[in-house]
Assembly symmetry: C2
Homo-oligomer: 542 residues x 2
Amino acid sequence: MELGMSLRGDDASVHSITLFVALLCACLVIGHLLEKNRWFNESITPIFIGLFTGIVILLTSAGTSSHLFIFSEELFFIYLLPPIIFNAGFQVKKKQFFRNFVTISLFGAVGTLISFVIISVGCLQLFKKLDVGFLELGDYLALGAIFSATDSVCTLQVLNQDEMPLLYSLVFGEGVVNDATSVVLFNAIQRFDLSHITSSIVLEFIGNFLYLFITSTLLGVGVGLLSAYIIRKLYIGRHSTDREVALTILMAYLSYMIAELFNLSSILTVFFCGIVMSHYTWHNVTENSRVTTKHAFATLSFISEICIFLYVGMDALDIEKWGVVNKSRGTSFGVSSILLGLVLLGRAASIFPLSLISNLFKACPADKITLRQQITIWWAGLMRGAVSMALAYNQFARSGHTQRLGNAIMITSTITIVLFTTVVFGLLTKPLISFLLPMRQPSSTAGELPIDKSITEPLLANGNGNEHEQLLANGNGHVHDQESCMTIPRPTSLRMLLTVPAYTAVHYYWRKFDNAFMRPVFGGRGFTPLAPGSPTDPMVLQ
Amino acid sequence: MELGMSLRGDDASVHSITLFVALLCACLVIGHLLEKNRWFNESITPIFIGLFTGIVILLTSAGTSSHLFIFSEELFFIYLLPPIIFNAGFQVKKKQFFRNFVTISLFGAVGTLISFVIISVGCLQLFKKLDVGFLELGDYLALGAIFSATDSVCTLQVLNQDEMPLLYSLVFGEGVVNDATSVVLFNAIQRFDLSHITSSIVLEFIGNFLYLFITSTLLGVGVGLLSAYIIRKLYIGRHSTDREVALTILMAYLSYMIAELFNLSSILTVFFCGIVMSHYTWHNVTENSRVTTKHAFATLSFISEICIFLYVGMDALDIEKWGVVNKSRGTSFGVSSILLGLVLLGRAASIFPLSLISNLFKACPADKITLRQQITIWWAGLMRGAVSMALAYNQFARSGHTQRLGNAIMITSTITIVLFTTVVFGLLTKPLISFLLPMRQPSSTAGELPIDKSITEPLLANGNGNEHEQLLANGNGHVHDQESCMTIPRPTSLRMLLTVPAYTAVHYYWRKFDNAFMRPVFGGRGFTPLAPGSPTDPMVLQ
């Protein structure tokens, strides 16, 4: 006779959660063991473990079921995505990001549009020759949006922010803008009447896009500033580290949910909230809170990523969808191949021309994107991931329409493409990058024990950027960046505008504004809340 | 025409989550502002905010609904409770806890049984005079179990571990054992055939209880040791802070879920997992991971607590249940009063006699529990919380039987008691404690700025205990504890057994065993993984 505490919920969910948590632990340990491996990366391990688990479940359940959970958009968008994007904003090197802002927007917005058009038109033309069942115009356009969404999660794990700062910020920044663009596109397709496209609808669409971009960014900045203000004010008086950490996490999440509530681009919102929080809020909290938030956000993001890939791996063997497709394997294979070709082509058609355009506007040769770098950017954005899956389910599996042949083929093709690009392209990425861009030994960490690297790296990475920014703001010396064009003469505001690149001038005035108006209110580096104006305050020393 | 990302899940859940997160933020800020308040504590603020929100929702929805979520056992037991109990084990002062282990077990297990019997028999006798609808024998016994479950969450916020270490460890340790006992009791009542209670059933029940207690503890210890071993082994070689943090959190959660899976007492499991992790695992990770895990666990626990109380506050106004009860208000009031009286009586009948027994076995007067302390312990365990709610819903609201008068009255009475004890008794606790036990100024932190307290306190608290333990283990000096009976002569193993209290002897041999066999394998303080046997290793120096 058993006695115990099985009173909470059904046993099935306890089984699933236990197995899932155990798999997560396995991924962490195996991922660690494979870290030095030339081929594997942090995304492929969970996919393989997920696939393997799927097979085991399939065998033990005698072919009736293959997954622990059904892919749920809500789980993905409400719980797993926010920490990943927030952490990205929180840890991004702000200077690099803003310096390349124009190029990033070009790649992210215009590039995605190009890719969208090529994939949509390509599908419309090529699918006619295959027997794919009936698809509407909206379905073709949706395919364009689905397969224009790159997988920023996977990409980030391949590139190293410290070794390739320019590439990292380009690829990553593009990923964030691309996420937003493709989701906005997808929604537009589902909501606008596509039977008669007029110029006014196109204009409305562009207006909507800009409106979304601006309001989402402002919301993220607003919530970030609010959190900085509250924590700075609360800091005056006694306080608790845990409360600070809790407030930071919850307000970041709140920004995401408010954006969701108002149908804004929550990805953009939480990304900018992360940037603002790392610039102001993070400096207002205690030393312990700084370490905790930094690593807690990174850990949350890390776990979410592994969850997503584990999920994708397990979901890949869903019987129902493959059962419908089974009769027309040839068609399914054809569709997947066509889509894969279009993905490769679409990205090539956006990255290479746009890089050319971007290079035209850069005076300094060191800032230009070389061909090898272009190939890397092209390759790094080929992977398709969880966003594509979520959009495909939304379009083709709504209210259980997977039974229709056309829809089932689209779902299975999406899974095929996601798995193929993540696994095959993913496996090839590390070797490709080390072939195209032979790694320079980073001089600053060369003398360190490998064991120390992970301890100092996250904080160091941020610290470097800030010190650099401060030097720039002080403006009392020549600063030599990795890019030699950054040599700045002692600036007097007018001469500076004429002699230095536009970015630096904007940055210079931003620093002035930041120091004069923003930091005194919202805190930030050099404005520790307890001692504004104290002898330790660098602003006073200056 | 709106365009955006509302594709994920229904809007209602987005609304609810957004509002809930906003309320959490409000609780954090308001809680901070009221921290110095003499009456309010961290539990009452969210209950009031929850009640207020419930009223607003009730008014805006024109009386149709009063809550954002329906109280869900799964949410509570799978997501909110584990971090609270784990953190309690992780942060508990191990030495105090184990020194008072016998007293704690006495209060937690025997005390809960006494309280259970008194409440069950009392209800059985007193409810006959009221018109409460039909209740089975099982229902009466269930009431005993439901109202024997004290609210350890609320208690912890009132007592201070540093100011009153003995009281804290007694009340808190009792709470953990009490949680386990009452849940096990509750399950036994639901599963055993109660129509003919024989002595063999009683024996089987006791056997089951011991089996559960031992296996649950061993499972927690096992998973904790496994995590220490894995992290220690992985540490050899390069590693990442985030992976360490993720692995620690996930393995802690895994222990809880495995216990759930095998119908063990998951509360006990995760509590002992926390103790083992703080003793071994925590010392095997990097400095940054230590700070991060410490605060991340505390923060998670803190957020979970606020969630629970916010939830209880919002759920208190559930229309459906009150509607049924409305016709027989007098009965409902009578039932609540009887239950409240029995709760007070049951706890008095367990604490005071058991304190007497406990005092009989203590040689040193300083270790005895004074009458004032007994009153504080009695009072601190009067609050009833989320566990009572969850058990009551399980017994009386299963498959929507709230429509039955008897069940509806029991549910509303539970809510009444939980709210009344938490709010009224909670409000009175701080004044009562400062009246009964006038606070000594803690000498070690007296010179510090109040602002620094929160930074150093959590780590200091642990550090103190460990240093203390190490001194004891080295055994090369007289150690004066707060309790003067702890003066230990230079120990030679035999003489020591005869002259010092039993606890100290057990502790001495445990330290020997720990240093000789456990620490070399599982790490821990003084066995930092990189340099076992190096000149910095205190064991080598010794």
